[in-house]
Each structure stands twice: as C-alpha cells, then as structure tokens.
Symmetry: C2
Subunit: 291 residues, 2 copies
C-alpha cells in the first residue's frame, strides 16, 4: 500500500498579489491540517487573469523562478508542513516568457519546472501574446509521495499530454486551470472541460486532479486595446477523479474549496496493468499524431 | 448545412448465424424507416461471442469479405434503403485472420475494410488467439453522408485511435462493440467504457456512436479448454454523444434498441475550429506516443 492524499485548492483572485499569496498560504495550511499531501494551486493565482487583454506592461509580471513572489513565499511551507506543492507562475527565462509550474517536494527540494506546452488564443484568453509554447516536454516529477505529471490549463484538452505523462510513469495527473465563460461562443464549457479530463483519466487508468479559480473578473477599457471591454466569469468546479474517470470530489462553481481524496497508488497501478491497455498499444500505428 | 442521421443498433445474438443476420436486417429496415442514414451494427453480431473460449475449429468462422454471410446478405440493403452500413465480421486474408468491418455506401459501393488495430486478451475475451492486430491503419471512409472513422471495440479505449481518425478528417466516430461483465475483475466496466469514449468525443470535438450487444452468453466446458467454464453478460448501453461528449442517445443494458441522432456536420466542424484545439497541437512534442 502506498496511500497518498491528493488535494485541489479553489479560490478567487484579487488585484493584489500579496492578498492572493496570503490566501493560497492560508488554504495550504488548512489543507495540510486536513491531511493533504500533494497540493495543487490554480493557474496564475498571483493575479487576476491578465490575459483577458493585451498589455505590454504585463510582461513585467514574469520573473525568474528564483525571484517569483509565490514560489518564494510558499516554498518554505512545503518543508514546514510536509506537503508537495504545485505552484503556477509567469516565468521569465532571459528573453522568453512561459506559463510555468514549479514543483516543491515535501522536504523543500525544488524538483523543477514544467512549462505549458499548449497555448490557447481566443478573444479573451489571449495567451499567445504572453507565453511562448513550453520547451520542457511532458515531465514526471518523482515526489516522496508518488510520481506526478502536471499539465497546465489548455494542456488538459489534449489527449497527448495525459498519454505522454502516463507513458512516462505518472501515477497522478494534476492540472492547474483558469477557465470560465466564453463571451463570444456563448457556451458553458464546464461540462465539456470536465468530460475531456475524465476521458484522460479513464483512458490512462489514472486519477486526475484539477484546480480552477472562481469569480468574475472585469477589465477596464484602455487605449492600448482600442477600448475593448471584457469580463470573464471563472466557473470553479474543481474536481478529482478516481482511476476510471469517475468524479469523486467536486467543488461548486463559486466558493473557496479544499478537495482532498486518498488514493492507494499501488492499487491504481495494479488496476492499470489488469486492464491491459498499455500492453496492447501499437506505437508504430500512431504516426499521424506526430506527423 | 449537412445534416445526417447517425444510428446505432443494439441487439442480442443467438447461436444461429442466419437468425442473427435476419435480426440485423429487420432492425436496419426499421432504422431506415425512422430516417437513419449511417447505421452501425454491433461487433461480430453473426455469432455469440466465441472468444470466450479458445477453439481451433472457430478459425473456420473467418471468411474472405466477398464470402462473408453478413456482408453478402446485408450489403444489398444499403442501396435498397439508401443507407451506409458498417458491418463487423471475422475476416480471412489467406493465412491471417482479422477482426474487421466493411463499409458499404448508400449506393451499394463497397468503400473498403478496416481491421481492428488493438486486440485485447483477458480470461474470457481471448481475442489474441483469433485475431492478428490490424494492418490497415486508421481509415476515414468518405461516404455520401459524411466522412466517418471506425474503431472496433478495444480500439475505443485508445485515445490514439480517435485522434488519428480526427486528424485524418473523420466527422463522426463509430465503434462496434462486444463488451460485458468481467468475471475475474468483478467490476462493472460500463461507466468506465462510456467515459473513455465521451473523452474521445470531447477532446476531438466530434460525435461518437457506439453499438454493443446485450444478453448472457454461456459456453459449455470442453476438453480442449481443460473444462473451463464461463458466462458473460453483455451490457448493451449503446450510446451516441454530441461533439462535446455529452450522451444524447442511450440504450438500456438489456433490450433491442435503435438509437438515432441528427447532426449538422458543418456545425460540428465549425465548433471544432472555433474551439481551436487542432490549431494548438504540437506534434513535435508527442514523440513518446510513437516511441
């Protein structure tokens, strides 16, 4: 038996970086007190979702990992509380900016960075303006509580992300997210979003943990964006699935949430073998995927 | 607008080939009368699921497509009723045997064969004894009603099947199936089975149509299999999803069923573009999938 308690934190973000970091710290401490061992924070929680608009001065939000406020403030909590932390942040690497996560092991060791591979671009999710597609590849981090794979938001829509992470030995998949309303498409993507990740879970026989922000964030029109108006309602609905894609923990569309679920990773890995899918893969037939 | 009515047929199978073909013909005619245009039959519906046991003499069930009883009997109905038929059968290709489907266009044209890529093997789903893994690759068939991709049963558990078909231009995904109880694992795989395909639908923004058999099939112990006893309960639950993975038509675990759903393929294709996923794929990062 290798039991581990995975956790997703859901909260709303204000315009004040310190407030958001403090909120994250408070929830991390609460979650740890509840037994959480691997704690996932939402995507880019240091700020409101700045990609609603295109502003050159927002490039200044990006910092080297060693200088990022959230990583600096929260990393010490990992060792203090004995928890693994998955911290999303806007990363500066000399002349290139990435949407990244840093993984801090429960003894405080920095296990490294994953940079978001798939970058979306829509009217109010203008991420290609801010982030270069990641160059780290799909990385599995060998934490003291288990091997974890991390995809960031838009990555969660791609079966390739989950498959590569599972192939590389991930035992749990984590997805920090910032997703909400679609003012142009006028659709509620929430069930679509969940079903896509439930599918990754089911197809790879692996639990999935997703953490989203919630709340309405409105930007003021400015000259730089031709007076563009916008407002997004982030829909929370953070969740955890078991290894066959069933949702076992679920947050509401609004409200802070600490979702915790215990998995026996040995049992999960046994279920993956018993079902036989990875035995029967035929990589030589999948050339269209890399073509 | 390119509207098309997709259909899944669900029925149980007896030990009499002609009875099963007659049943299929009756349901095809009923479905066509209800407006169905692309009709999917369950996997290997000519017989009870013979892969429960290993019997050399069952190799004789396999025939060339031109000699297969179901294809010969049902193909004329395609032209007569103006429907596309997806006919599953056990195929003999000289010295090699495959689990195949033949696609007959609504004018009677034979559009070709797809051979099941992924072959399962478990205590009572002993398919590796009967079927060589398919050598056709993932094929998209350009029918008069739209471009369709077909995976066969175990194929439906692999994100690679759905992704390759979507990349190659499939507008609808069809999966003939024979799946039921797991006497050893003692689990009900039905929800897992559905969620996996709902995930393919959601991730590729494409409708999925799945047809399963239902009913209990019991085999008699014989010397060739060391007196092995077994009985499988096939769980029906055939379904159709919309392009975001929501189940829009659903059959019960028991009982004949004709599921029909109309799609506007232009709208589906527009939704796929608008959501932007295929734009943002990064094939150069997916080497682990073909490695």
């Amino acid at each position: 038996m290798r039991k581990v308690k995975a956790c997703a934190l859901q909260f709303s973000c204000t315009k004040n970086v310190q407030e958001n970091i403090d909120k994250a710290a408070t929830l991390i401490k609460k979650a740890a007190a509840m037994g959480a061992q691997i704690i996932l924070l939402p995507e880019l929680f240091e700020r409101q979702y700045f990609c609603q608009e295109r502003r050159y001065d927002y490039y200044d939000f990006a910092k080297k990992v060693s200088e990022n406020d959230a990583v600096k403030a929260l990393s010490p909590l990992a060792k203090e509380l004995g928890v693994v932390l998955i911290i999303s942040f806007y990363e500066k690497d000399v002349n290139v900016l990435y949407n990244s996560v840093e993984i801090i092991d429960c003894d405080g060791t920095d296990l490294g960075t994953y940079r978001k591979t798939h970058i979306p671009d829509d009217h109010y999710y203008q991420e290609k303006f801010y982030f270069t597609p990641g160059n780290t590849g799909f990385k599995v981090f060998d934490t003291k509580y288990g091997k974890i794979g991390v995809g960031i938001c838009w990555d969660q829509w791609f079966p390739e992300t989950a498959r590569c992470l599972a192939i590389n030995g991930a035992e749990l998949l984590f997805y920090p997210t910032a997703i909400g309303s679609e003012p142009i498409l006028e659709s509620d993507s929430m069930p679509h979003w969940r079903r896509t990740m439930q599918g990754h879970s089911a197809a790879n026989v692996i639990p999935v943990i997703a953490a989203n922000r919630y709340g309405t964030e409105t930007v003021e029109p400015c000259d730089e964006n031709g007076g563009q108006k916008s407002s997004l309602n982030f829909y929370g609905s953070s969740f955890i699935t078991d290894e066959v894609g069933e949702i076992v923990e679920s947050a509401d569309r609004e409200g802070d949430a600490i979702l915790i679920h215990e998995f026996d990773l040995d049992e999960v890995n046994k279920a993956r073998f018993d079902w036989g899918l990875f035995r029967d893969r035929r990589p030589e037939c999948y050339g269209d995927i890399t073509g």
